[in-house]
């Protein structure tokens, strides 16, 4: 009796929300078509792909593909690089956006502020294709920067082929392209802070640092946490477009990430789709766990998280 009641309650409730469900249709339809339909391909992780037999008819090989990647140094290299590069971007790149936003906010000259923001945000609009072209032109062996170093009597630096520099090049180019853009969200949040708070603080004789610490920072904390979770959620991604357009054979050791590795084994000679699917599956699993951890972490600290 009780159960039946709750079921009718549920249906009633759902009927109440019929327009809401209707709104979900286009989005879910998209997911179904372009994300879920191809997912039957995951079975390739446990198969050897044969063109004439199709994906479903290809022979099972058990865990052979996983055993292979388990013992393949190139895979582990990519795995390690993905995490290191992401952490470097998180540790070095992520705070720069926040600091930049705080600095811009403190800049008094309105027109100059606007002008600088114009410059800072512009690179965001460019693709990595363009940015890599600019980076090669600027930092290459015969590029402007090395030419400048030579003019002032210093030695050239081989930015693109140096294993100890390449990861920093990734961080630097990411900061160059995206730091200005990330300030926009923070600045918007700062602008949303009630101005009377600052006025009251000024009356109380609070200094600049005090205001940043007790008014500005709490005001942007929420958005910082959301951005942080999102970045952690993409740790196993590490930026295919960027790395793919910037890396080369010499720096595979420090620059090859999972997505570029998968790209190479899917497209270069004699592609092995079983292995590349297995790598993708493994990578997704790790990524999923990481995001869940970050989300739980955020929730513990009183933030709403993203789920």
């Amino acid at each position: 009796m009780k159960k039946k009641l709750s079921r009718t309650g549920l249906i009633e409730q759902m009927l109440n929300y019929k327009y809401i469900y209707l709104m979900l249709v286009p989005g879910l339809l998209f997911l179904l078509t372009f994300k879920y339909l191809p997912m039957y391909g995951i079975q390739l992780a446990f198969k050897r792909y044969m063109l004439n037999k199709g994906i479903t008819g290809s022979p099972w090989v058990g865990l052979e593909n996983f055993r292979y990647i388990w013992t393949e140094p190139a895979f582990w290299r990519a795995f390690k690089n993905t995490i290191i590069i992401s952490l470097m971007k998180l540790g070095l790149g992520f705070p720069i956006g926040i600091i930049l936003a705080l600095l811009i906010n403190e800049l008094r000259i309105k027109k100059y502020k606007r002008f600088l923001q114009t410059i800072y945000t512009f690179p965001h609009f460019l693709s990595w294709v363009i940015v890599s072209g600019i980076v090669f032109n600027f930092l290459g062996n015969t590029g402007a920067f090395n030419s400048f170093l030579q003019t002032i009597g210093m030695h050239k630096i081989n930015f693109l082929m140096n294993k100890s520099i390449f990861r920093y090049l990734l961080v630097y180019s990411e900061v160059w392209k995206e730091a200005g853009w990330s300030t926009i969200l923070y600045l918007a949040a700062i602008a949303g802070i009630d101005p009377t708070l600052y006025e009251a603080a000024t009356v109380d004789g609070a200094n600049r640092w005090y205001k940043i610490k007790y008014i500005t920072w709490p005001g942007i904390q929420n958005i910082v946490v959301i951005m942080f979770i999102m970045t952690v959620g993409t740790i196993m991604v590490a930026g295919f477009n960027q790395v793919f357009n910037l890396y080369n054979e010499v720096v595979y050791d420090v620059g090859d990430i999972i997505s570029t590795y998968v790209y190479r084994i899917s497209f270069q000679q004699a592609p092995d789709y079983g292995v590349s699917t297995a790598v993708g599956l493994f990578n997704g699993l790790i990524n999923f766990i990481l995001l869940m951890l970050a989300n739980a972490f955020a929730k513990r600290f009183g933030n709403s998280g993203i789920i």
Binding site: L51, T71, E249
Partner: protein, 526 residues
């Protein structure tokens, strides 16, 4: 769409009936009443579409083409995803050589390509071409031919098939630094000294340290810089009666060390390990590079190296100041490696009907005939050339102000006309190419055929091996080039280089042993 075809068919048949009344010749020439449209992977399709020879072929065989554009930066990706998804164009062009012939075996045995019908009788010119092909038997899988290997028609008169790959160098610079040899023969050491002198003395006046000593066309790295000369590029050479893995041999490591020492001394171009195919060529054209390793294959060499170079540097005498350079290997002997007699292959979609393929093969057969070869090289009969009564060719090309014939066709369209056969032999007769260039090319070939040259035979048996373990796993050990680049640039010293190389070898050991076991079992027992 179908209606339109029907209409065309109707018009054509009316035309045919009318034609057969007026003369049997017309009917026999025009038996292509149904038009076929082929999808074809193609480079520079927009240039091909404007080519008069292309239009001529389309009309002659009542066919049309839809091109899927490919270029060097996406070609690898496109042909593979098409094949793997069963979405090949009707006619696809893909390179299968040395290390990835196994890919052909894999795809073909999985039904990726449409097999060709028997050629004998029906397609006499194609059949004849196939007889010439050295690798012919290897292309057959279970008795069927799944690809049309694009035969290089220059191969026939060089046996063994020596290559036209060579160093070329700036003679004017060599003279300026006082190291010039009139016969263009140099030892490895002499070449190194010259490269260093170019860099230090800067005869090209490029500024301090800006002149580059040695560089090569992108895809020949790292081989050209010391590896083919010391080890030569077999993946699985025969040693003491057994097949071994090339990269694990001591002479291979010696080759890498040679490259490393060139690189560290600054003799080799610092950007070479990451340079794309034409980067070094651009440096040579700009007068920043002294010694350039390239394929001196007449047409491409003349049109894309010498002509732009003359424009970039008007004071240069391109015929006197640039010469082939014959360099002995670090071991002292002259070297060359036999090359295969085809360049990539044309593949056909299994979805294509027999009749449709037959029409293409007729077109191909025509392209393999004398007239077809003339079409690809000198143009349309009675428009670009005339056949005299004695069989000689009278060229009708336009002439420049000096009375020299000018090739009326855009050289970038050539890929379309070379889907059947490669006309590299013609280049030596091309009237628009100066005699000096042809002489250089012939000189290189002649030099490579001299007795003192150690020509390594092409390892057909191994590279074309189709054992199941080999074809399945050989691509997993095909990343040696990347490893060499990394070791050469990143190691601080020879000991470190050796250690990192050993580590690489070790990581491949399991796979290599599997492959070697199969090769040795199956090839040595035969």
């Amino acid at each position: 769409m179908r209606k339109r075809y029907l209409a065309i068919l109707l018009i054509m048949s009316v035309f045919l009936i009318w034609g057969s009344g007026s003369g049997a010749v017309l009917a026999s020439q025009n038996n292509y009443d149904k038009q076929y449209t082929y999808t074809v992977s193609m480079m520079n399709p927009e240039i091909v579409k404007q080519d008069p020879r292309y239009k001529y072929l389309k009309d002659k065989f009542n066919v049309d083409f839809k091109f899927r554009p490919v270029n060097w930066s996406n070609w690898n990706e496109k042909v593979r995803i098409w094949t793997a998804s069963g979405d090949m164009p009707d006619i696809m062009w893909m390179g299968f050589n040395d290390s990835n012939f196994s890919e052909y075996v894999n795809w073909a045995s999985q039904g990726a390509y449409k097999p060709l019908p028997k050629l004998k009788g029906k397609y006499p010119h194609l059949y004849q071409l196939r007889q010439k092909l050295k690798t012919d038997d290897y292309w057959e899988i279970d008795g069927k031919l799944y690809a049309w290997p694009i035969y290089m028609n220059s191969a026939a008169w060089r046996n063994p098939i020596v290559s036209t790959f060579s160093f070329i160098y700036r003679v004017d610079w060599a003279k300026a630094v006082g190291l010039y040899h009139a016969d263009n023969n140099y030892s490895w050491q002499e070449m190194k000294e010259m490269a260093l002198a170019f860099k230090q003395q800067d005869p090209g006046e490029n500024g301090k340290d800006k002149t580059i000593g040695i560089a090569g066309i992108g895809w020949t790295w790292p081989w050209f810089a010391g590896l083919i000369q010391t080890h030569q590029s077999n993946d699985f050479p025969l040693k003491n009666g057994k097949y071994v893995w090339g990269p694990a041999q001591p002479e291979y490591l010696a080759g890498i060390k040679e490259i490393k020492s060139l690189y560290d001394q600054g003799i080799l171009w610092e950007d070479q390990p990451i340079a794309n195919n034409n980067a070094a060529r651009n440096k040579f054209i700009a007068g920043e590079l002294g010694i350039y390793y390239t394929n001196v294959n007449v047409g491409d060499y003349y049109n894309n190296v010498l002509v732009p170079m003359q424009q970039a540097q008007p004071d240069l005498d391109i015929f006197k100041d640039i010469e082939p350079m014959y360099v002995a290997s670090p071991r002292g002997n002259f070297f060359d490696q036999e090359v295969v007699d085809y360049w990539s292959a044309t593949l056909f979609s299994p979805e294509m009907s027999d009749d449709k393929l037959a029409r293409w093969l007729e077109l191909s057969d025509y392209m393999a005939s004398q007239e077809g070869m003339h079409l690809a090289t000198i143009g349309i009969k009675d428009k670009n050339y005339r056949l005299k009564d004695n069989g000689e060719i009278e060229l009708l090309w336009p002439e420049d102000e000096n009375g020299k014939p000018v090739n009326p066709f855009d050289s970038r369209a050539i890929r379309f006309f070379e889907l059947t056969t490669m006309h590299d032999k013609f280049a030596l007769n091309d009237p628009s190419v100066p005699e000096e260039v042809k002489a250089d090319v012939k000189g290189i070939l002649r030099r490579h055929l001299k007795d003192d040259v150690n020509v390594l035979a092409y390892p057909y048996q191994v590279n074309w091996f189709n054992g199941s373990t080999y074809t399945r796993y050989v691509s997993r050990i095909a990343d040696t080039n990347a490893e060499i680049s990394e070791a050469v640039v990143s190691s601080q010293n020879m000991a470190e280089l050796e250690a990192s190389w050993q580590e690489y070898l070790k990581s491949k050991e399991t796979t290599v042993n599997k492959i070697l076991k199969e090769i040795n079992q199956q090839l040595l027992e035969k």
